[in-house]
Amino acid sequence: MTAQPDVSSPAPDRYSLGIGKLVVPSLIGGLVALTLGVYGRLHHPTGVVVNIAGFTSAGYVKSWLATIATFFAIVQVTSALVMYGKIPRVTAPSWIGRLHQWSGRIAFLAAVPVAIDCLYGLGFQTYSTRVLIHSILGCAFFGFFTIKMLILPKRGLPNWTLPLAGAVVFTVLVGIWFTSAFWFFSTFGLHR
């Protein structure tokens, strides 16, 4: 065996700022968003949807799932603000971390079937401003979410990275909701 530099030892100087740790997650997140967009653009939309009994149409299933995701995203931001001590006179209860984790998981898992139906059944479309914005944000959301999940366990990142990533994910999701479920409910009526 030939002599090799000791690759297992970290090089703390190089990552002293911690920003270097963002490179790989960002690349993966970008790849996720790009993959979804390219698939949505190239795949011929089938219109095939998985509906749930009790709902008028697939549009309503998706709109309510998106609304659930957005609701838990609001829980996300609120619990994060409590954890960071940004809400005056509120001390973080012991369960706040668990609330944050599970609200995020529920929001994400509620959003996934919606996204799959959009990509498989409808595709990446550009025929109106609303639809274009929605298509772009929809793909970007999963990219940003991937980045946030990948940097979450990393230590030594600048303090602003997680709040920024969380804020971006939340903002994009709210944008998605306004360009889809909000539009859908206001066009077709608010019911199941």
Binding site: V50, T56, I116, P153, T187
Partner: protein, 281 residues
């Protein structure tokens, strides 16, 4: 070793996504597209079946459904619960003005002018076919991304119509019903549609095929609705209908009292395509 929970979350989501995607690909109306012509589509998950009333009932007893119940609560024809069909005393007294012997006779009578609407077998979409003096117009949509218009000519009680992107519709309407199969957006359906008769509550638009075109936000759109005999409806909107593969979405609710629909602030005025009168041909 400490478990990387965020990564577990990500992978769980990815697994769920793959699961939903595979379920979509394997869903009946998707696989039906690969089967041979004439195959019966299994129930589609797109929406719950609302079986159309049999033709004999429709023509014999003039059932006079009240569509308001169904349409007021549901924008598409596919409420999960079956639409309430309530015979009204007013129309029960009305004479059955429907043409005799067209209901369920098995003779080879070919009506020169006729309209047919029904849910496709399995209930995954609705289809409308109108024939007027040798010409035919047909439409299928599922209130979501599947919609196709067909035009062509009629000969000897049979239609072989074509639409965009390989859309085909073949039907035999010699037995009082329009029976056949169609392909739209790669999805195949079979159907057996009863003839539409003119008995409707006063002030309501009759069952049949409706279309409307408009320009919304600078984009031309073409909406199509199929209003079923029970007053329920299925509608889809095509954006930039002149393009090769127009994007398609759910149409807004067609108000059967006014014949209009509201879409992004624009009033769509629907016109009936009728083989009986020839309007829209």
């Amino acid at each position: 070793m400490k478990v990387n929970m965020p990564l577990v979350t990500l992978l769980s989501g990815a697994a769920l996504g793959v699961g939903v995607l595979v379920a979509s690909m394997l869903s009946p109306s998707s696989t039906a597209s690969a089967s041979s012509t004439g195959a019966t589509s299994p129930p589609s998950p797109a929406f719950t079946v609302t079986a159309p009333p049999p033709a004999s009932t429709a023509s014999g007893t003039a059932p006079a459904t009240t569509p308001t119940t169904a349409s007021a609560t549901a924008p598409t024809s596919a409420p999960a619960t079956a639409p309430v069909v309530t015979p009204t005393s007013a129309s029960a007294a009305a004479p059955a003005t429907t043409p005799a012997a067209t209901g369920s006779s098995s003779t080879s009578y070919v009506p020169p002018q006729a309209d047919y609407v029904a849910q496709v077998n399995g209930g995954g979409a609705a289809v409308a076919i109108s024939v007027h003096k040798g010409k035919a117009v047909a439409y299928v949509c599922n209130g979501h991304a599947v919609a196709a218009w067909y035009r062509g000519s009629a000969a000897n009680g049979k239609l072989n119509l074509t639409g965009k992107n390989g859309a085909r519709l073949s039907v035999d309407y010699r037995s009082g019903k329009a029976k056949g199969s169609l392909t739209a957006d790669g999805v195949q359906y079979s159907f057996s549609a009863p003839m539409v008769h003119g008995v409707v509550p006063t002030g309501q638009r009759p069952p049949g095929l409706y279309e409307a075109t408009a320009t919304v936000d600078g984009v031309s759109i073409k909406a199509g609705w199929i209003v079923l005999p029970d007053g329920s409806q299925v509608g889809s909107v095509e954006y930039d209908p002149g393009s090769a593969i127009p994007p398609t979405a759910q149409a807004p609710l067609l108000n059967l009292a006014t014949g209009t629909a509201q879409y992004d602030g624009v009033t769509l005025v629907a016109s009936l395509i009728s083989g009986l009168t020839g309007s829209g041909f």
